[in-house]
Structure formats: structure tokens, C-alpha cells
Amino acid sequence: MAEEVLAPLAGKVLSVAVTVGELIEEDAEVLVLEAMKMETVVYASCAGTVSGVVVKVGDQVEEDDVLVSIEN
């Protein structure tokens, strides 16, 4: 079953820490969003295999946009 990691706020993707196929733990760093001069780290909501990375560095995302999918 795939779980989607959503953007907690609108912002620019500053870095992406995971790649498709990677096995990650719950609460592992997924990516960092920059908004209003601040950096918000987005953590994995569950353990599993990264099945999709929808964004890349520099992308502008809106709140609740899908960032990454994790198969658990």
C-alpha cells in the first residue's frame, strides 16, 4: 500500500534526500522545503520503499501537494 508524503506548506524544494527504490525508516528525512526564508524538513510518515519522488530541487510546491510516495 502506498502512502503519500504531502507538502505541509507552500514553498520551494531546497533538497531531496531520498531516491526511488530506497528503503527508508519512519521519520527519515525526505526533503527540505524553503518558504519565507525558513527551511522546513519533511520526514517520512512511515517506513517502506520509496516508490515515487514527484518533485526535484527548485520546484515550487503548494500546500498538500504530493512530494513522495512510500510503499509500506
Binding site: 521519520d27 518558504a35 526564508k37 525558513m38
Partner: protein, 577 residues
């Protein structure tokens, strides 16, 4: 009031492995800064003669006296690195802090007799005034270890005179006495001139048998009648005069114990003086530990070392303030005031060693859709908006009413700006908070967790308000400046850059200036600089923060000038609804 305070609402959660991994290098960086602070403190404490050299002369050092005097494990140093006028020794030549003597909190301060026999040096009077202010704010005794050779004469112009000069502490001692706060002094060594007034101005004077205090000493016997210069004959006469005079310095214990009776007691041993101070401390008014407790003390539910993985050293990285607070307060419990309003600040009641305190802190990160309600742009924690300002005003007012000491935690980038923010009254609400703090008259302390910026640094806890702020602590992540260096560079040089550009001249020199300014801001906003300048009263290791909160709450409740019975408190009822 068991239902309210025995078990309040639990908060916080254990650290997750992902966060530990991500913040590992940040934790190392924080510990690295703590190491730098330790080293600088060690250098300042080593100023002057070695301990062995002082002991060989038959005296204890100020540090040995403090160790004997203060109850084990209760010393909380303040101003360890304070050196606002950049003395090359790295110190203002006094050592001070909060400590318990015979179970009672006191502000303790002593001249460092290792350096120039405890001389007055530039910046020292400001340090002393911080100690007298602290005793005044917490209503606890000021204990002096006097050993002061008087002014460092070649630099007297930097501290002798002025509204906050070397003479000001004597008036502060009188003010403390006027307010019923005793100033106890243990007196050692030779204390002429300024040292004489350091000795005579306290309430109780306990002297070592070799101590003396006098209006003037050996050093000024010849200076009374200036002759326009010196020649060899005059200097030889001075040498002879000094030899005779130094054999019997004025104001010894025979004069000021047997004669004038100024000394309350004279002790043969140095430790006898300290034992005397302990005896007097046992006699000062102090409520027992249980008197004002609302519940039994308990440690936080989470380890203090977690803080290294919760507070990112990267000033731009968002974190959860509530998790920081959960590592500092009893049982990781609280009663939150207006959780559904002003989301950028936490306000609530917590316990420190079972004693109630009001806590206020900046929350970080995105504040959710539709906030601030007056603007079409999103809000981010660290900034202050209308609701947060209103909430802090209300909370502080209620803390004043309920006589709750307040602990502030700052990590603020400022108050929201722009026309919309002006229309939302933020300028007025910020100053309202200053007025509110002034109205409360309860002890406050401040921890600048990371950023202290713009007017928000002034209004959140009033680090510049010596009648309210007992002391301000920094952490290894502290950064205090009017604004970020890059913002300042833009504000300062953009107009000039535009002119140069329009005139077809190269931008390199302006860019160099901008980067120079950014670098300057970096150097002058970091923990070491903040401690040296007195922006903070001490930089404290993250896992020692709770110790200082305990000292603050313990001292604030030791002998409060006014009290509110627990069952008369309004704030917990307002929170309950």
C-alpha cells in the same frame, strides 16, 4: 489546588531516529560552540596569578572562597565572559552568580584577587550593577567577597566617574538596604579608596584579621599636593615615605574593629569569615522550599540531552518549540493558555521544582491557512502577528495578577512589517507588551534560544529592562542583532549599488562592502560576542538550562515581595474555562 497542578497536561514525545540522524552534525556544532565558550571562560578565570602563587602568599583565591562558601552543586555562574570594554585579561575582575548558602539563594560576587589584587578595571561597575539589579529583582541577599586594591589608575578615565561608574554600586547597596535586602560582606586584604567603599557600603562587615579598609592607601600618599612633575630627589623622598607608610597601612582591624567598630566581626582564619557569612545567611528571611510549591517536584519526562537534536544550529531550520519546553519543565506538563489563538507563541503555566511559572516562547514553522487573519500572505513562526501580541499581553497581565514569575524563550525574527501590519496595530501592540511587563512587577528571565532580532527582542521578556528581567541566558545557537546581516547589507547598500550601476561603474567595491558587513554581523551576533558585551548574562550549555530555571524559580519564590494564594489564582481558571 490538586486538580489543577498535581498532574497537568502532558506534552512532548520521544526523539525519533530520523531526527537524531539528521541533526547529528548540528548537535556536534552546538557542542563545539559550548567547547569554545568553556575555553574562553577558562582563560578569563585564569587571569592574573596562579592559585598556587596566591596560596603561597597566605590567601585563598576568590574561586576557593566561593567553593567553600556556596552549597555544593548550587553555583550558577553569570557574566563569566562579560568584558564590555575589551580588557586584555578577558574579565571585569569580578566573579558572580547565583548560589545557595546554607540552603538559601543569594547573589554572590567577589573581586578576583588573582589579578591586580582585585582592582577596579574598565567595565567592572556595569558587571557589579547587574549583580545588584539581580538581588533587587529577586529580593535575595547580595553577598560580597571584598578584596579590592582600588582603581587601576592608568585606565581610571574609563570607569571612575559617570552615572553608571565605579561609584554607582555604593548607591545601589544603599538602595538594596532601603528595600530591606541585606548586603553581606566578607572582607580580605588591602582595600584602599574604592576598595574602602566596597568594604564599608554593605550591611554586615566580616573581616579577616589581615584586612584593612581606608579612604586612601599607600598609593596616593604623595599625590595630594601636585608639584608639576617629578625629579630624582622627589622620587627618592617618595620611596622613603612609602616604605614608612606601607609598614602600617591605614584602616586595619585594630582601627575598624576595636576603634570605629565598623567591622562586625574579625576572624583569624580566612574560612572563619566565610563561616560568618554562612551564619548570617542562616538568619536571613526565606520561606521553606515547600511553602510555595503547587505540587511535588519531578524531572522532565524526556532527557535534557535531546535538546541537542531538537534545536537546529542552522538558524533557518524550523523546529518544534514545544519539544524543547518538554525537556525543561517538571514532568513535561503544562496548562496552555489560549491554544487556539495566536499560534506563533506558546503561553502557559508550567512547574519548575513544583513551583508555578508562566512560560512564553516563539513557535516555529508554518502557522496554517488563513493566519495571520489580517493579511493575504502566510504566517511563519518566529515572527509576531496581531493575535500573538494580544495573547502575550493578556498572559503577562494575568501572570502579574497571579504573581507568577515568567520565563521567556526567544527565537524571533521580528514583528510582522508592512502597511497591512501597521493597520493591524502591531507597532502599538508591541509597545503595549512593554507597558504590560512594566505593570506586572514580577521577576522574569529570558532564554534566547536562537534569534533575538528587531523590536521583538526588546518586547519579549525585556532583556533591556533591569527592573523586570532578572537575567538573560544565551545558548550555543544564540544570535542577537537588529536584523540578519544580509538584510542589513541590502538596507545599507542597495541605493548605492543602484547609483554605481546607473553610472556604469563596477559593482565589485559595493559587493565587497556588503559582504564585509555580513561578515561583521556574523561575528558580532554570535554567543561569545553576546556574552562579552552583556547581551546575555551567561551562555549556558543546553543540558544545563533547566538548572538555571530551577535557580530562578527557587530564588524568585524564596522571599517574594507579594504573593497570590494558589486558590485565588485566576489564570488556571481562565485556562480551564
Amino acid at each position: 489546588m490538586k486538580p489543577y497542578f498535581e498532574r497537568m497536561v502532558s506534552f512532548g514525545k520521544g526523539l525519533k531516529p530520523g531526527r537524531i540522524t539528521r541533526l547529528a552534525s548540528s548537535a556536534d556544532a552546538l557542542r563545539g560552540v559550548e567547547g569554545e565558550i568553556d575555553e574562553a571562560g577558562g582563560r578569563a578565570a585564569a587571569a592574573g596569578l596562579s592559585t598556587e602563587q596566591v596560596n603561597k602568599r597566605g590567601s585563598m583565591t576568590v574561586y576557593q572562597r566561593l567553593q567553600y562558601l556556596v552549597d555544593e552543586g548550587t553555583w550558577h555562574p553569570l557574566h563569566s565572559l562579560y568584558n564590555p570594554l575589551a580588557n586584555k585579561e578577558g574579565t571585569t575582575n569580578v566573579v558572580d552568580g547565583l548560589g545557595k548558602i546554607e540552603g538559601r539563594w543569594a547573589v554572590v560576587i567577589g573581586f578576583d584577587n588573582k589579578f591586580m589584587a582585585g582592582a577596579w578595571v574598565p567595565g567592572q561597575s556595569e558587571n557589579i550593577l547587574r549583580a545588584t539589579d539581580l538581588a533587587s529583582r529577586l529580593n535575595i541577599p547580595l553577598v560580597w567577597l571584598v578584596n579590592c586594591s582600588g582603581a587601576k589608575l592608568p585606565e581610571q578615565e574609563k570607569f571612575y566617574a559617570n552615572r553608571r561608574g565605579a561609584g554607582t554600586p555604593f548607591f545601589r547597596h544603599a538602595e538594596l538596604e532601603q528595600a530591606g535586602i541585606p548586603v553581606l560582606a566578607g572582607i580580605y586584604g588591602t582595600n584602599p579608596a574604592g576598595g574602602g567603599y566596597q568594604s564599608i557600603s554593605p550591611t554586615i562587615l566580616l573581616a579577616h584579621q589581615d584586612a584593612n579598609m581606608a579612604v586612601g592607601g599607600v598609593g596616593i600618599v604623595s599625590g595630594m599636593a601636585p608639584k608639576g612633575g617629578f625629579d630624582e630627589t622627589m622620587v627618592e623622598a617618595l620611596i622613603e615615605q612609602t616604605r614608612q607608610f606601607s609598614a602600617r597601612p591605614p584602616g586595619g582591624t585594630d582601627t575598624h574593629y576595636e576603634g570605629t567598630g565598623f567591622f562586625t566581626r574579625v576572624c583569624e582564619e580566612e574560612t572563619g569569615v566565610l563561616d560568618g557569612l554562612k551564619e548570617y545567611m542562616r538568619a536571613v528571611p526565606a520561606y521553606g522550599a515547600e511553602f510555595f510549591r503547587a505540587a511535588k517536584p519531578k524531572p522532565p519526562a524526556f532527557p535534557a540531552d535531546d535538546l541537542y537534536h531538537l534545536l537546529p544550529v542552522n538558524q533557518r531550520e524550523v523546529y518544534d518549540f514545544d519539544e524543547v519546553l518538554a525537556r525543561l519543565v517538571d514532568g513535561s506538563e503544562r496548562l496552555e493558555f489560549r491554544p487556539d489563538y495566536g499560534p506563533e507563541v506558546f503561553t502557559g503555566i508550567c512547574k519548575i521544582d513544583g513551583r508555578l511559572v508562566g512560560c512564553i516562547g516563539n513557535r516555529q514553522g508554518y502557522l496554517g491557512k488563513g493566519y495571520p487573519e489580517y493579511a493575504d500572505y502566510p504566517g511563519i513562526g518566529g515572527k509576531l502577528y496581531r493575535q500573538g501580541l494580544v495573547k502575550m499581553n493578556e498572559f503577562v497581565t494575568l501572570c502579574g495578577r497571579d504573581r507568577l514569575p515568567v520565563v521567556w524563550f526567544q527565537d524571533t525574527s521580528g514583528i510582522d512589517v508592512g502597511e497591512v501590519a501597521e493597520k493591524a496595530e502591531l507597532l502599538g501592540l508591541g509597545q503595549s507588551l512593554v507597558y504590560t511587563i512594566q505593570q506586572t512587577d514580577v521577576p522574569m528571565m529570558l532564554v534566547v534560544l536562537r534569534k533575538g532580532t528587531a523590536a521583538a527582542h526588546y518586547i519579549m521578556g525585556g532583556p533591556t529592562a533591569n527592573r523586570h528581567n532578572a537575567f538573560t541566558l544565551g545558548t550555543p545557537a544564540t544570535e542577537i542583532a537588529v536584523m540578519h546581516g544580509e538584510t542589513a547589507a541590502v538596507a545599507t547598500y542597495t541605493r548605492r549599488a543602484t547609483k554605481e550601476h546607473d553610472a556604469g561603474r563596477p559593482l565589485g567595491p559595493v559587493i565587497d562592502k556588503m559582504n564585509e558587513l555580513v561578515e561583521g554581523y556574523r561575528d558580532t551576533s554570535r554567543p561569545l560576542y553576546c556574552a562579552r558585551q552583556g547581551f546575555v548574562d551567561e551562555v549556558v550549555k543546553l543540558n544545563h538550562l533547566r538548572r538555571y530555571l530551577q535557580a530562578f524559580a527557587g530564588a524568585a519564590y524564596q522571599n517574594p515581595t507579594s504573593i497570590c494564594p494558589l486558590h485565588h489564582m485566576l489564570l488556571p481558571r481562565v485556562i480551564k474555562g
